[in-house]
Homo-oligomer: 408 residues x 2
């Protein structure tokens, strides 16, 4: 078998472990007899189209540096949000396939979420139509956990662990004073509530928060919310509420867009206010005598690697390695998926599924994993998510700070 080169890119939003998938790709490729060079595209296909390519074997010739890649958050190669046109618009595809030939690319691996799988799917479809023998494979990644076809996505476990741990810390902090308080925590998730749902893991026999969890999957009513908070305050003086940024009312209007023109600031801009701020205002207006504050976890829930899940890191590496092995076996048009084996103990099998069936779809939390009232998740969801946050990662520090690798 003739040796070939592979090309790998990262796309979409960062996660704590997307670089572990890159590590898996590089490591497996360097160990493979069939693969010559591993090229990385800078800033995904957007950079690739500008010819921004690097030799990853060279960049990581120092094995120690390669190990540090695993604890480096965000996307080492840089990322993009670039949507390819339909494959009938052949010009850009011809340009890309020319470049593939120029670099001797036998396999194209794209690490990303829904949009990235759309890219991988289109390139794969173009290759099919035009009889190219280049392999196109998707490597799943997203903190949102909303990719169909896979039990979960690498990146989700670490974000879930960060969120659960942070919500527990917030609950303990908010409980130090002997007074009634409501703390509203806004968590990422525009369409699917997987991240916010993971906040339920903050609870233990001493921490009863979050007392309430609101997800985009259940319609949100402001009046009912205020009533829920009032009831929660009768049980606990320290109430933490977790809310997805994407909560919607019965008509699918985003709650965070309620303020609209009413919230225009001195500079004439609107929409500076998230859902949590609005809920905070509702509590303050309707439940007097209670300390209320809101906190947006914002980028922190995906940008920190100090609370990365050991299992997530391991699985992120494995999906990368599996993609390279699949390319060596001549597989194409697929995304690496994780299947959870039945039974008591947790085990994942790595399989391939048609990438065209995955892009542009969104997996929501099934309704039977949300309680009837729409303010909590069920025990079945907790059984699903618990194994994903297990295991801790050794971190190397320098001068008191986590040590990372950087692209030159």
């Amino acid at each position: 078998m003739q040796k070939f080169n592979i090309l790998v890119g990262q796309s979409g939003g960062p996660t704590a472990v997307i670089n572990c998938s890159l590590y898996g790709v590089i490591k497996e490729a360097l160990e493979s007899e069939q693969i010559d060079k591993v090229y990385g595209m800078k800033n995904g296909i957007e950079g690739f189209l500008r010819g921004e390519i690097m030799d990853l074997g060279e960049a990581f010739s120092d094995p120690d540096r390669l190990e540090l890649l695993k604890q480096t958050p965000a996307a080492y190669l840089g990322s993009c949000r670039y949507k390819l046109p339909p494959i009938d618009e052949t010009e850009i595809y011809e340009e890309m396939f020319d470049k593939f030939r120029q670099y001797g690319i036998g396999a194209f691996l794209y690490i990303g979420g829904n949009d990235s799988m759309d890219t991988a799917g289109k390139l794969s479809a173009y290759a099919r139509r035009h009889g190219s023998d280049i392999c196109f494979l998707g490597v799943p990644k997203t903190i949102d956990n909303d990719l169909v076809g896979t039990d979960h996505t690498p990146g989700y476990g670490s974000a879930a662990k960060y969120i659960a741990s942070t919500v527990r810390d917030i609950s303990i902090d908010a409980g130090v004073y002997d007074l009634k308080s409501v703390t509203i925590v806004e968590i990422m998730g525009r369409h699917a509530g997987w991240l916010c749902a993971a906040s339920a893991l903050a609870r233990n026999e001493h921490v009863h928060n979050p007392m309430l969890i609101y997800l985009p999957e259940s319609p949100f009513h402001m009046d009912r919310f205020v009533e829920n908070v009032r009831e929660a305050l009768e049980k606990e003086s320290n109430v933490v509420v977790c809310v997805s940024e994407g909560i919607r009312d019965e008509d699918h209007n985003l709650i965070c867009e309620y303020k609209g023109k009413a919230d225009v600031d001195g500079f004439g801009h609107k929409k500076l206010t998230g859902a949590a701020k609005l809920l905070e205002a509702a509590v303050m207006a309707n439940i007097p005598g209670v300390k209320c504050r809101s906190i947006e976890l914002s980028l922190l829930q995906r940008s920190s690697s100090v609370l990365a899940s050991g299992r997530d890191r391991e699985e992120a590496e494995q999906v990368g390695r599996f993609a390279v092995k699949s390319a060596v076996n001549g597989e194409s048009h697929q995304m690496v998926c994780m299947e959870r084996a039945e039974g008591e103990s947790y085990r994942i099998d790595y399989v391939l599924k048609e990438v065209a069936d995955i892009g542009n779809k969104e997996k929501m939390i099934p309704s039977w994993w949300i309680t009837k009232e729409g303010t909590d998740v069920t025990e079945e969801f907790l059984d699903y998510v618990r194994p994903l946050i297990e295991g801790e990662c050794e971190m190397r520090f320098r001068d008191g700070m986590p040590e990372y690798v950087y692209r030159d």
Copy 2:
């Protein structure tokens, strides 16, 4: 020498290491021949006045449980913000001193910041006036680092490490896309800018952010800020700005209060907006074509212990131990202070200073540690703060989450 009991309390806002000082107090007291029982007041003197007292020797009879106290964030005993009246209003003092006698208290140790030192100072003054031989000692604690008389305060180093690491992570995350962006990070510090200044530690040879740092010690001008950001964007496409929540204009008006009535929301409440949101609006209004977002670190900068500084944890324990030793030596009316020894290598000496000289004062960043433009700190400040974030802490986890101890 007759054995005596000690009473310890925690007061004011939580830190990542306030429980390490409690650990130091308990450990040293249990090891001392002179001390019989170690009582803890729940929720500071507020709870104590209601008779809420616990036997800490009993609560921590399991040494393993005592070790876990060190990695538990917030305040194990609970906290309060309770201001004692002047000592001429004797009623409340008589009540307290009665309770001290009832529990055989020979020493009263209060772990806290400025307000807590006001409490320790008043009790100490009352004891002096009325010839009580109970020792009153202050144990410093605050993330704000604004206590006079001490090189720095336990709690600051861990918050500084969290902030520096988080700002670096934010900068890396914000830089993954190939576009111009401004990210404004709001950091605690109503009066003193120590925490925000520590964000400068985020920089290294690859990370140039924060490009701009605004502190309450330097007057803030909105127009000049916009100009600074414009200039920064000429040097870097990914600009992170760090800003203290308490930045003020030349007339000492808080920037976060600028919006005033203009920001009244649908519920009739104002002041939902912090300084960072206002700066974000200013950038969006004045610098078109740039992605801009703001992030408040909020409680997270003090409520997480996973990035606690090893040195901070050790020093927090030592101030607690030193307070107990001082009580055994019959010292009173003092706060434990840290003096940094001259010379190349970092060394701290623990000394006592009159607590009455410490409460209700605030230590600001000296002007010579802030650059002339008021948008950065100097190398001398960095030399001061670098040692404080050094050293990592082993954390014990259970089920994927940091393990803590809780009060029953």
